[in-house]
C-alpha cells in the first residue's frame, strides 16, 4: 500500500470513522518535513478558525470543535490557576507590610517626677498633648524613674532617654518617626508640622549640614558630603560644645535599635565620659561610620533653640522649640525660665 498526501476530496478507501483513517492521514504526512507539517497544521487551524468550516466533513468538524473546546478548557484552567496562585501570593507571601495601625510620628517625653512638681509637669504634658493632637501624632510619656534599674549610674540623668526611646519604639511598632524632646523644653510654635519642617526628604536635604566637624570646633571627623537625605535616619543638632541630645528624631528600624543599644552599652556608661551620653554619642559618631553615615546634623534653631543662646542658637520668635537645657544648675531656675516662656508660647491655629 502506498501512502499519499490525503486531500479533502479524495475518495476514501477506508471508512471515515475507523482508526486507520486517522493513522493514514497522520502517517503519510510523517514523511513531510516536520516544520512544514507544523506550518501546514497551524495554517489549517487558523484558516478553520477564521472561515466557517464549510468544506470540512462532519467528523472533521466534530473533531475540530471538540479540539477547540478542549483547548478553550485548557486555557481557562490555566488562567484560573494563574489567577488563584497570584491571589495566594499576594495574600500570603511574606511581603513586608508595615503595621498600619499607629501614628506616623510619636513624641517621646520622659518626666523627672523626683525633682519637679506636679503642676509643672502637667503644663509640659499639656504643651505636648496640644501639639500631638493638632497634628494627629502620638505621645509617649513615661517617668524616667521607670528606667532606673537599667542605667549604670542613676545620678547621670542623660542616659535615661535611651531605654526610654527604645521602649517607645517597642510599644509603637507601626510608627515611623520618634521625636525625643527633653522635659525642660517648650514647643513654642505648634503650627509647624514635623514632616514639612524637618523630615521631608527635600526639606531635610536643605537642612543637613555637610562637612561640618562632628565635635565643634575642629574635630578631624566631619559629616559626610554626599550621603543623600533619604538615607538619614538620625536627626540631631549641635550646640557650641557638641551634640545636643535634648531633641533628636530617630526613624524606627534596624538602625535605630542598633544605635540606641550600642550607645547605651554598659562599658560606655562606665567609662566616665566628660559629658555622659553626649560624649558617648560623639565617640560613636567618630569611631563608627555605620552610625555617622545615617546621621543628619541640622541647625540648632530648627528644633532646639536656646532662649539665652548666642549667635545661631539664639531663639527667635516663630521658632519651633525653645529649650531650657542646662537649667537644672544652681545658677538658673527651670521653673522661672519656663514661666516666662510659657505665657508667650504660640497656640494652635485651626
Amino acid at each position: 500500500m502506498h501512502f499519499s498526501i490525503p486531500s479533502r476530496s479524495a475518495d476514501q478507501t477506508t471508512l471515515p470513522g475507523s482508526p486507520s483513517f486517522k493513522a493514514k492521514s497522520r502517517a503519510s504526512s510523517h514523511h513531510a518535513v516536520y516544520p512544514l507539517y507544523i506550518f501546514t497544521q497551524l495554517r489549517s487551524v487558523i484558516r478553520d478558525a477564521l472561515t466557517s468550516a464549510q468544506n470540512v466533513t462532519a467528523p472533521e468538524k466534530k473533531r475540530q470543535s471538540a479540539r477547540r473546546t478542549l483547548s478553550m478548557w485548557a486555557i481557562a484552567v490555566f488562567a484560573a490557576v494563574t489567577v488563584f496562585l497570584t491571589i495566594m501570593y499576594v495574600l500570603f507571601a511574606n511581603i513586608a507590610t508595615s503595621d498600619s495601625a499607629g501614628p506616623r510620628v510619636v513624641l517621646v517625653l520622659g518626666l523627672d517626677n523626683g525633682k519637679y512638681k506636679e503642676d509643672y509637669l502637667a503644663k509640659i504634658i499639656e504643651n505636648r498633648r496640644e501639639y500631638a493632637d493638632a497634628h494627629k501624632y502620638g505621645l509617649y510619656v513615661r517617668n524616667m524613674s521607670d528606667f532606673k534599674g537599667s542605667v549604670h549610674d542613676a545620678a547621670k540623668l542623660g542616659w535615661y532617654k535611651l531605654p526610654l526611646m527604645r521602649s517607645a519604639m517597642q510599644d509603637n511598632p507601626g510608627s515611623t518617626y520618634f521625636w525625643y524632646l527633653d522635659q525642660n523644653a517648650i514647643i513654642m510654635n505648634p503650627n509647624l508640622n514635623i514632616e514639612s519642617h524637618i523630615t521631608d526628604v527635600k526639606r531635610l536635604n536643605s537642612l543637613v549640614l555637610r562637612d561640618v566637624p562632628v565635635v565643634p570646633p575642629d574635630s578631624t571627623i566631619r559629616t559626610y558630603r554626599h550621603v543623600p537625605a533619604d538615607r538619614m535616619k538620625f536627626i540631631i543638632s549641635q550646640d557650641h560644645e557638641g551634640f545636643q541630645t535634648g531633641s533628636f528624631i530617630l526613624k524606627n528600624g534596624e538602625y535605630a535599635w542598633y544605635v540606641l543599644d550600642a550607645w547605651f552599652d554598659k562599658l560606655y556608661q562606665e567609662y566616665k565620659f566628660q559629658k555622659a551620653e553626649k560624649s558617648s554619642l560623639e565617640h560613636l559618631a567618630q569611631w563608627h561610620p555605620t552610625v555617622l553615615s545615617k546621621m543628619a546634623i541640622i541647625p540648632q534653631r530648627i528644633f532646639n533653640a536656646y532662649p539665652n543662646g548666642v549667635g545661631d542658637s539664639l531663639y527667635q520668635d516663630g521658632d519651633f522649640v525653645a529649650s531650657l537645657a542646662g537649667c537644672d544648675t544652681p545658677e538658673r531656675s527651670c521653673v522661672r525660665e519656663f514661666e516666662r516662656l510659657w505665657d508667650n508660647r504660640g497656640r494652635v491655629v485651626n
Partner: protein, 340 residues
C-alpha cells in the same frame, strides 16, 4: 490478501483479538505520542526533571561564572611564622586542611576564600590585636558580592563528612537546627533575658557554644545591614581599653559582652548545637569529658571537627592525621552499600 489495517470488522476469534490488541499496544502508544508531540515532549521533560532532581544529581552544570550563595572563609597562616617557627608539621597540617576544604567546596559548588592571618603591624599589641577576624570577614564580603552566607573555619578544622552539604546540615531546617534562648545551655552564665530582644528577627549570625562560651572557630554569618553594624561595632576603642586585659579570646569575648548587653545583637544571633558544625576532639574542653554535646561522635558521623587549642600543649599534626585517616575510612563504601 486482507488489509492488515482494516480490523474494524475483523472476523478473527476472541483470543486472537486480545492477542492482537496487545501486539498493537506499542503501535497505539507510538501513535499517541506522534499525535500529541508537544504535550508528550513537555511530559518527558517533566519526568526527566523529577527523576533527576530526586536523585541528587546536579541539574544545571556549574558554570565558571556562576557564583555560589555560600563562601567558606578558611583562615590560614595564623601568625605567619612570626611568633613561632613554622616547621614541616605545621606546613603539613595546613596542606591537609586546605585540601580538605577545597575538595568540599568543589564538590558542593561553594566558593573557598583562603585568607592569610599573618600578624600585621596594624595589629601590634595594644592596638586591636586579634581582631583581624572582623576585618577579614569584611574584606571577604567585599570580594564575594553575590554570596549570602559566609562560613568561617579556623585552620585546625577538618570536614569529616564531605557528602553533607551546608544546606542539608544547617539551612534547610534553620529554625529547628538553631536555638535562640540561653535557657537550656548557658555555659557562660550570661543573662538569659534582657529587654528589647526580638525573637522573630532574621538570623544573621550562627554561633556554636562550647564549654567555655561562644566558639568562633567555625561559625556562619550572613550578609545584611545588621551584619554591617556588627562588624563595625565589634571593635571599639573604649571597649578595648577597658577590657582587653581580661578578654583572653579577644573578639570572642567582645561578642559575648555585646550579646549580654545589647538587645539588637541578640535579635539577630542564633546558637547551633556544637556538634553540628564544630565538634571537639577528646583533648579540647577536657574538663567536660563525656559531655555528649561537645565531643565528636564517630557513630553519629558528625560533620566537622575543630581541633581547638591543639597548639597549646597538644599535637596538631597527630590529631589532624588521625581525623584525616578516620574520615577517609568512614567514606569508603562497602560493596553492599547500594543495597543498604
Amino acid at each position: 490478501m486482507k488489509d492488515k489495517d482494516d480490523y474494524l470488522f475483523s472476523p478473527v476469534s476472541r483470543t486472537s483479538r486480545v492477542i492482537n490488541r496487545f501486539r498493537r499496544l506499542p503501535n497505539r502508544v507510538r501513535q499517541l505520542i506522534l499525535r500529541r508531540r508537544i504535550l508528550s515532549a513537555i511530559l518527558f521533560v517533566v519526568l526527566c526533571f523529577t527523576l533527576v532532581a530526586n536523585s541528587g544529581v546536579r541539574l544545571l552544570p556549574r558554570l565558571p561564572w556562576t557564583s555560589s550563595k555560600f563562601v567558606i572563609i578558611l583562615a590560614v597562616n595564623q601568625g605567619g611564622g612570626v611568633m613561632e617557627w613554622k616547621g614541616p608539621t605545621e606546613w603539613a597540617v595546613e596542606r591537609t586542611s586546605i585540601a580538605n576544604k577545597k575538595a568540599y567546596a568543589d564538590r558542593h559548588g561553594y566558593q573557598l576564600a583562603i585568607q592569610d592571618m599573618s600578624i600585621k603591624k596594624r595589629y601590634a599589641h595594644e592596638w586591636r590585636e586579634s581582631w583581624e577576624k572582623v576585618d577579614v570577614i569584611r574584606q571577604t564580603m567585599k570580594q564575594y558580592p553575590k554570596a549570602e552566607w559566609f562560613w568561617w573555619l579556623d585552620l585546625h578544622t577538618y570536614i569529616m563528612e564531605p557528602s553533607i552539604s551546608l544546606e542539608k546540615q544547617v539551612f534547610n531546617r534553620l529554625e529547628n537546627n538553631t536555638y535562640r534562648s540561653l535557657e537550656d545551655y548557658n555555659p557562660l552564665r550570661l543573662p538569659v533575658e534582657i529587654p528589647f530582644v526580638d525573637n522573630t528577627h532574621q538570623i544573621n549570625l550562627i554561633v556554636p557554644q562550647d564549654c567555655g562560651g561562644f566558639n568562633l572557630g567555625s561559625f556562619l554569618i550572613r550578609r545584611s545591614e545588621w551584619t554591617d553594624f556588627l562588624l563595625d561595632i565589634w571593635w571599639d576603642p573604649v571597649f578595648y581599653e577597658q577590657r582587653h586585659m581580661q578578654w583572653e579570646h579577644k573578639e570572642q569575648d567582645a561578642l559575648e559582652h555585646m550579646y549580654s548587653d545589647q538587645g539588637w545583637l541578640r535579635s539577630g544571633t542564633a546558637f547551633i548545637p556544637q556538634r553540628l558544625i564544630n565538634a571537639f576532639p577528646e583533648g579540647a574542653c577536657s574538663e567536660q569529658q563525656g559531655d555528649k554535646r561537645i565531643f565528636y561522635n564517630q557513630e553519629e558521623r558528625d560533620f566537622v571537627v575543630n581541633m581547638a587549642g591543639c597548639e597549646w600543649g597538644r599535637d596538631c599534626y597527630g590529631e589532624m592525621e588521625h581525623f584525616r585517616k578516620l574520615s577517609a575510612s568512614l567514606q569508603k563504601k562497602s560493596w553492599w552499600w547500594p543495597f543498604k
